[in-house]
């Protein structure tokens, strides 16, 4: 069967899915007696029309880029890593240890150190599930989700019993030293005449995330390892026939995936909170799955999808601030977007494909 053009696959399908989700969300908002137009207006004004709003949108997007890339890399090897949550949590521990116990002279060095710390801890947390899959055939979905719970328990133990400053109630580490504080967009782009990004958490990590996108693109499409990962993902038997060791690919793909998820914590722990709190990840690991699905596992698509979800998060917060729309409903709206762009993809794709085929026949 003939396929539809590439632009339709990449742009048109997500757009139609998005419109459908928006339409259903509007109905839901209408049903509880609020105005959907007002809600949309609030979301856009709050997330995109103020520089501080952008600061939050980009902050969330940074998280989603990292976790989205993590899911995508594993998915190219047909591994469904749903343990981004736990890997990011452990990554946070790595970031915290690096920031707290190494006297950094300057933030730029600290950023490199913390990125490595987060990546190593995240990768280590992904190593065991990968190894179990490679050696024992234990399904990666089961093991990674179990590792999420173990990560939560481990982090809680470490924070409550080891890293919590004396007399503090919060299960969180002490504030990171001044020298490790990353410059925020406010520090970077604000001048005395024009105050930009005031009080918003977007920081230099956003650019690290963009660099990570380029690195992942190079890795997957321009290196030998990336080729091996993709061939293994397309067909394990063919890869084996070509002399690619499946066990090695599984473990390496999971290590890279875990490292990317772990680096997310540079943004939340070092960039925003400047300390490690218990639930610093708050679901970004799972949102990463939706981001990767929507972005078709391509770094560029992932950036766009991450921006969309960043907008939904920040816009959702604005709705919660100024309307009486309960936060559960905001989650419903976000879920509708995930449902339409991810799970119900074929609902849009199949009729659209037929349409394109029909159009082509007519043309020829």
């Amino acid at each position: 069967m003939e396929k539809m053009p590439r632009w339709a696959d990449i742009i048109l399908i997500p757009l139609i899915s998005l419109l459908l989700a928006a339409f259903l969300s509007a109905l839901v908002i209408l049903a509880i007696g609020e105005s959907p137009l007002n809600a949309l207006d609030l979301m856009i004004k709050g997330a995109l029309m103020r520089s501080a709003g952008w600061g939050y949108t980009l902050y969330y997007a940074t998280n989603f880029i990292f976790t989205g890339l993590a899911v995508a890399v594993a998915f190219h090897a047909r591994l469904f890593n749903i343990g981004g949550e736990g890997q990011a949590m452990l990554g946070g521990l790595g970031v915290a240890l690096v920031c707290l116990y190494i006297p950094w002279p300057h933030w730029s060095l600290a950023l490199v150190g913390a990125s490595v710390g987060g990546a190593v801890f995240g990768a280590l947390w992904a190593f065991l599930p990968g190894w179990l899959q490679a050696r024992r055939g234990s399904h990666i979905v089961i093991t990674t989700i179990m590792f999420n719970f173990m990560a939560a328990a481990l982090l809680n133990y470490v924070l409550v019993n080891l890293l919590r400053p004396k007399g503090s109630m919060d299960p969180a580490t002490a504030k990171f030293p001044e020298a490790t504080h990353l410059p925020t967009f406010h520090d970077m782009f604000s001048t005395t005449e024009t105050v930009l990004f005031r009080g918003s958490p977007a920081n230099v990590t956003f650019f690290v995330a963009l660099l990570a996108c380029v690195a992942v693109w190079l890795l997957i499409w321009r290196t030998r390892l990336g080729y091996e990962i993709r061939s293994f993902g397309q067909s394990e038997t063919a890869a084996r026939y070509a002399g690619i060791a499946p066990g090695r690919i599984i473990v390496v793909a999971m290590l890279i995936s875990g490292a990317l998820a772990g680096m997310m914590s540079v943004n939340t722990s070092m960039g925003e909170a400047e300390r490690l709190v218990l639930n610093s990840v708050e679901g970004a690991g799972f949102i990463g799955i939706a981001v990767a699905l929507m972005g078709r596992n391509h770094p560029f698509g992932i950036v766009l999808a991450a921006l969309l979800f960043g907008f939904l998060y920040q816009g959702g917060a604005e709705l919660a601030f100024w309307t009486s729309i309960p936060r559960e409903l905001i989650i419903v709206i976000q879920a509708l977007v995930i449902l339409f762009t991810g799970a119900l993809d074929n609902m849009v794709r199949i009729p659209l494909e037929r349409l394109f085929v029909a159009l082509r026949r007519e043309g020829s």
Partner: protein
């Protein structure tokens, strides 16, 4: 009514976008959400009471993420809300960051700790209240074994458990206190099924009174205790009515009163530390028609005597959070 609310929300929305709105006050609920039947809901009730009595209005938000903490504080302060009341210890650090930028706004933290001129810190002596209900548990127990079920394993909840165990031992030094925490993540505040399982496990170990300090999880504890015909003790709000005649008492933490008073003071509210202890009626135990048959006059007299001794300083209840240890209970 519904249309009026919509209209108001619309007005509020457009006005705020224009940046000239004025709201009286703001209330920030913690991640548990405002209908947790416990801590946050108590704040909601206090605020609603103020709204009904005075006709005032307040902005509110149920937080969804960590990054929203600071954002909510700034947005509400910029919208002119005063005071900005926050729930939960996790707001301490964000308030510390934000408060100096808005010197004319008074921030209130319930359960948190911030030192700044425009921050009012409201704390409760949960260990004292728990001590009193621990005494009642020991007196009501026939098996000399009582249970404690906490929510998330954090120092604050250990403070509840430690006070409770001390109260139990004060009445009966040989009594056994079984302590379990529901979990280590915030979901432990809202897991009634796990609460129910833990209750059954404690019953099988001989407990015949269980004290739940676990937010929404406590609903499952109280339910199972009632089903299995043992006594339970509620927390934060008065939960005696949930299973009339089967809830021994509730450890009251008057978050509702604290919120109500803060809203009532309005813009005149000043910074500083306010400790709501037994003497200030900030904590205590609940008596009403639902548990009148369970608590004998003798029991009540003993508990009231202990209460007076704590207030006068004759009895000092050890606070777990003062040194992270508990003489009466090991975790």
């Amino acid at each position: 009514m519904k249309h009026a609310a919509t209209f108001r929300a619309l007005l509020l929305g457009t006005a705020l976008c224009a940046g000239q709105a004025h709201a009286d006050a703001a209330l920030i609920f913690d991640l548990g959400g405002k209908f947790d039947k416990s801590f946050n809901e108590a704040a909601h009730n206090g605020a609603q009471r103020w709204k009904e009595e005075t006709g005032g209005d307040y902005l509110e938000i149920e937080l969804q993420s960590e990054a929203q903490r600071e954002q909510a504080l700034r947005r509400f302060a910029e919208a002119g809300a005063n005071p900005v009341i926050t729930m939960g210890f996790a707001m301490s650090t964000p308030i510390k960051e934000v408060a100096p930028d808005y010197p004319d706004t008074t921030f209130v933290t319930i359960d948190g700790w911030v030192e700044a001129p425009n921050v009012r810190v409201i704390g409760f002596t949960e260990h004292e209240g728990s001590y009193l209900v621990g005494m009642m548990a020991a007196m009501a127990s026939k098996s000399n074994t009582v249970g404690f079920i906490g929510g998330m394993d954090i120092p604050l909840i250990r403070r509840f458990a430690c006070g409770y165990a001390q109260g139990v031992k004060a009445v009966n030094p040989d009594a056994t206190v079984i302590s379990n925490m529901t979990g280590v993540t915030p979901t432990a505040w809202n897991d009634p099924v796990k609460g129910s399982e833990l209750t059954k496990a404690q019953i099988s170990q001989g407990a015949d009174v269980v004290y739940a300090a676990a937010g929404g999880t406590g609903v499952g504890v109280l339910q199972t205790a009632a089903d299995e015909n043992i006594l339970s003790i509620g927390v934060d709000s008065n939960q005696n009515h949930l299973h009339s005649g089967q809830v021994l008492t509730s450890m009251m933490k008057r978050v509702d009163v604290a919120v109500y008073d803060a809203l009532k003071s309005g813009e005149t509210l000043e910074g500083g530390y306010q400790l709501l202890d037994l003497a200030a009626e900030g904590v205590g135990y609940a008596m009403d028609e639902h548990n009148a048959d369970l608590v004998s006059a003798d029991m009540q007299a003993q508990v009231d005597a202990a209460k007076a001794s704590i207030i006068s300083g004759e009895i000092s209840v050890h606070d777990y959070m003062s040194d992270d240890s508990c003489p009466a209970l090991t975790f």
